[in-house]
């Protein structure tokens, strides 16, 4: 009987320790949110689907009918070197669905952050881990069912230079392993550090479709108009789109 009492008192003590530990943690590390907003542009103008003409670096005119890409494993680096990494960090940005072009990162520890790092595409592990849901659900049309892997970036449009029927342009860029992997992880510094606290800072990321065809690999639409599997062509476009993002605003 005495032993039983002792056990119960020990268990209650353990429970108290556990509860107070949780409580204490909440008090010492308050968290806030950061809002990421993506703005797709073509050079100096906003990207409009279907009925606006643009010109690439090679001088080829084209229209854009679809522009989608994955952003994954987003992290923020604080001024003191600590890193926040978003949990379950998979986002599909689709120009045709403006609700997909912004999202909040939550549970960001309060503090000052100076840069953002993310992968354009879906990390190799999540290409091979079986059926996924949410942004990674194959119903989103960004998964090659016959040749396992995500389409990391999908650009579709038309150009008079393309010799495909109706001048079709189709750049489905994927491939997560080997020399032709298109996975690009980039880090961008904020113009000035953002402060996470009770208010939610905004970060504006601009993505320029012209950069898909510009440098280091200038694309001539009469030579390259269709990409529908991993390979050297997809790799060359990814080397270009690794440079397509700039931060135009970071602040309250």
């Amino acid at each position: 009987m005495r032993t039983k009492t002792k056990i119960w008192s020990m268990l209650s003590f353990a429970a108290m320790v556990a509860l107070s530990a949780c409580h204490k943690k909440d008090e010492t590390t308050p968290t806030g949110k950061v809002k990421l907003e993506f703005f797709n542009v073509a050079g100096g103008s906003n990207l409009n689907l279907n009925n606006q003409w643009y010109t690439n670096a090679n001088g080829d005119s084209f229209t854009v009918s679809r522009f989608n890409y994955y952003i994954s494993n987003v992290s923020l680096k604080s001024a003191n070197g600590a890193t926040y990494t978003e949990a379950n960090s998979y986002h599909l940005v689709q120009q045709e669905d403006l609700t997909s072009t912004s999202f909040d990162m939550s549970d960001v520890p309060n503090g000052s952050y100076s840069s953002i790092t993310f992968t354009i595409g879906v990390d190799s592990l999540h290409n091979v881990s079986g059926a996924q849901t949410g942004a990674l659900d194959p119903v989103n049309g960004m998964f090659w069912s016959w040749n396992t892997g995500y389409i990391m970036l999908k650009f579709e449009g038309n150009s008079p230079k393309s010799t495909q029927p109706d001048g079709k342009l189709m750049f489905h860029c994927g491939g997560f392993s080997g020399a032709n992997s298109v996975l690009k992880t980039i880090t961008l510094n904020f113009p000035q550090a953002i402060q996470v606290n009770t208010s939610t800072p905004h970060v504006h990321l601009q993505a320029d479709v012209l950069q898909l065809f510009n440098s280091p690999n200038k694309i001539d639409f009469s030579n390259l108009m269709i990409i529908h599997m991993p390979g050297a062509d997809a790799k060359s476009i990814s080397d270009n789109y690794a440079n397509m993002f700039t931060i135009t605003y970071a602040g309250a």
Partner: protein, 349 residues
């Protein structure tokens, strides 16, 4: 000291309760259906499976949901074709006597429907190995225009409108949401649990059965002449090889190169398992050989030389007529009649 002992006993009791409470019911028998976890047992002497059910815990309810989906023609656009249409249990889940299978509207694909068994051990799926996780396999026949020609949103809508399915999804996943991930995980439970390991060869290997003198001679010959690619105990090494078939210009199938884009992979196809081979005719990726004799005759006299031909087949496989008959006698011992008659894998009543 006595008090400490009491605490230790108390903790030990809880550990026992936790372990015993989680012990899976090792049965997929519908007669003993409690809906709960089921043990996945690796047959004696086999390697560990590639698909481990780690993120898709095998349960009685999940298996039965996958089974219902596998046999459901509503997975096709016009509700006429199910997975089982081209994967028939009596043929070890291949399509007997169909070189190529027909999908909806009588359209033909360009590859032979393989048998389905021991899928959890497959590192890749399809003749070209394009799919690398079992859960990502079913979307291909469902969405292929010459197979089931359906879209996943439509499948989700049809399944989600069925009261029995809703009940099952709730039992398996905790709520009634139907999505592609849940459909694929359920199908993976059913297909992944389809183990074929009780052929006469298996019984011989386990020391519980015997083979005839001719079959044993066939086994010795098989090991010497075929076993380097068709490795025991799975009877495949899962590699991709060009086995010297004359290219079929009407199909123009580049095989593994379709996936890798590499010239060195032209017309290479996955080495199929030979388990249940007597039931899975016709043979090869395009189903061009109707009998085991014709298949072996190809290796003896029919090898087509090309740049990507497997080096082990440059001179064909030498065998006398008697040796060929002994090998065929052995191959027939790979038939698992328990598996093809197993009521757990049959169409649900």
């Amino acid at each position: 000291m006595k008090k400490n002992l009491g605490i230790i006993l108390f903790v030990a009791c809880w550990i026992v309760v936790a372990v015993v409470g989680c012990k899976p019911d090792p049965s997929l028998d519908p007669q003993q259906d409690n809906g709960g976890p089921v043990a996945f047992e690796v047959p004696q002497g086999w390697p560990q499976p590639v698909y481990t059910f780690q993120n898709n815990v095998l349960t009685q309810d999940g298996f039965q949901l996958g089974r219902k989906l596998f046999y459901d023609t509503r997975l096709s656009r016009d509700n006429t074709i199910s997975c089982a249409s081209c994967h028939q249990q009596f043929a070890a889940f291949s399509h007997l006597d169909h070189p190529l299978s027909h999908g909806i509207n009588g359209l033909f694909g360009k590859r032979n429907a393989p048998g389905l068994f021991n899928e959890a051990w497959l590192p890749t799926f399809f003749w070209d190995g394009g799919v690398i996780n079992m859960e990502n396999q079913p979307i291909n026949p469902i969405e292929n225009p010459v197979e089931m020609d359906e879209t996943m949103p439509e499948v989700i809508a049809k399944v989600g409108a069925d009261a029995d399915y809703i009940k099952r999804f709730k039992a398996v996943f905790g709520d009634q949401e139907v999505n592609s991930q849940r459909i694929f995980k359920a199908l993976a439970q059913f297909m992944g649990a389809m183990i074929s390991s009780n052929s006469r060869y298996d019984q011989y290997a386990r020391g519980t059965g015997s083979l005839s003198a001719q079959e044993l001679n066939g086994l010795t010959l098989f090991r010497a002449k075929c076993g380097s690619c068709h490795k025991e105990p799975m009877f495949t090494d899962y590699s991709f090889r060009n086995n010297g078939l004359i290219p079929d210009a009407s199909l123009n199938d580049s095989g593994r190169a379709h996936i890798t884009g590499l010239a060195e992979d032209m017309r290479k196809f996955k080495v199929p398992s030979l388990r249940n081979v007597d039931l899975t005719r016709p043979y090869t990726h395009d189903g061009r050989f109707n009998t085991l004799d014709a298949m072996l005759e190809h290796y003896r006299t029919g090898i087509y030389q090309s740049a990507t031909l497997d080096t082990s087949l440059r001179n064909g496989i030498q065998m006398t007529d008697n040796e060929k008959q002994d090998i065929i006698a052995f191959l027939k011992t790979l038939t698992d009649t328990t598996f093809v008659k197993d009521p757990r894998f049959a169409e649900p009543k």
